[in-house]
Amino acid sequence: MTIVIGFEGSANKIGVGIVRDGAVLSNPRRTYITPPGQGFLPSETAKHHCACVLSILKEALLQAGIQPADIDCVAFTKGPGMGAPLVAVAIVARTVAQLWKKPLLGVNHCIGHIEMGRLITGAANPTVLYVSGGNTQVISYSERRYRIFGEAIDIAIGNCLDRFARVIKISNDPSPGYNIEQMAKKGSQFVELPYTVKGMDVSFSGILSYTEEMAHKMLGAGECTPEDLCFSLQETLFSMLVEVTERAMAHCGSREVLIVGGVGCKYLC
């Protein structure tokens, strides 16, 4: 029986998880939420994580019902992500690993997402669509490595959604993406937006600028509602992802898709 404790704080969410042989014993977490219209900056995010990481760690041990001595290994997100919050969490992981005399394991954030997805779903060898605030990639496994078949060439899809949310001052609580999704359900008009798929890759920054401009123009003139824009943006972005994912599946002869990353929790019908 192997018990691993993991620390993740590469963006605005900080979490500590305890896993025993693939079963999650506890996973308390907190999100650094900024006021509507504002994104999260590295130094403030790091401050947020520093302030709550130790109490989250205590919660994790309590909820799992284990003592530090029971732990076999301490894992933490080494990268990629935002520098300041990554360092803050790494420092805590290094300290407890030394205090408890346990081996320390740095984890690649992207691979962490994929392996979590494979563990929870039991997928054998899927085409992976990894979509979050910081990453947008279509990934497949070949010859002992995960390989990127296609990706966003500028900003990640979550970043596009979050920044659009800021423009029309959507609340960041619990997350801007969630609130966009709720508003999109009430949209009734499809607004034509740029559709930028480039071969296996996708581009979002042009769509973002265009949508921001349209927001000011059309909302000002009453030509559409914020809900219509949320709906149209989601439809456009998600259709682009479906296209590149299907292309990768055809290339690899795959019949399974695994969607991982925060944006993946959206209900895509």
Binding site: C50, L54, L57, K58, P68, G83, V87, A88, A90, I91, V92, R94, T95, V96, Q98, L99, W100
Partner: protein, 98 residues
Amino acid sequence: MAVTSGEVKLSETLHFELSVPFPSNRLAQIAHGSLAPDAEPRKGGISKELRVTDNSLNVFWCAEEARILRVSVGSFLDHLALVLETMQAFGPSETQQN
């Protein structure tokens, strides 16, 4: 500053020294292990060195500009505070607060 042939002298280099006492050598080593791995985010203009001597963690900074030095020292102290808090919460009994 005179420039001699064959070598270039830096303009006044700023130095800062910090000595942090710990209850034991082991804890000083742990602090060192937690704080030494991260390189300075800024590429140039600052360097720091961490050393453990007995129960003390000693840090030596060299910087070319005061503001760069201030940022680095400030950031280090924040990280050190985090290490100390972690030790108090999860370390051996000599670090526990009652």
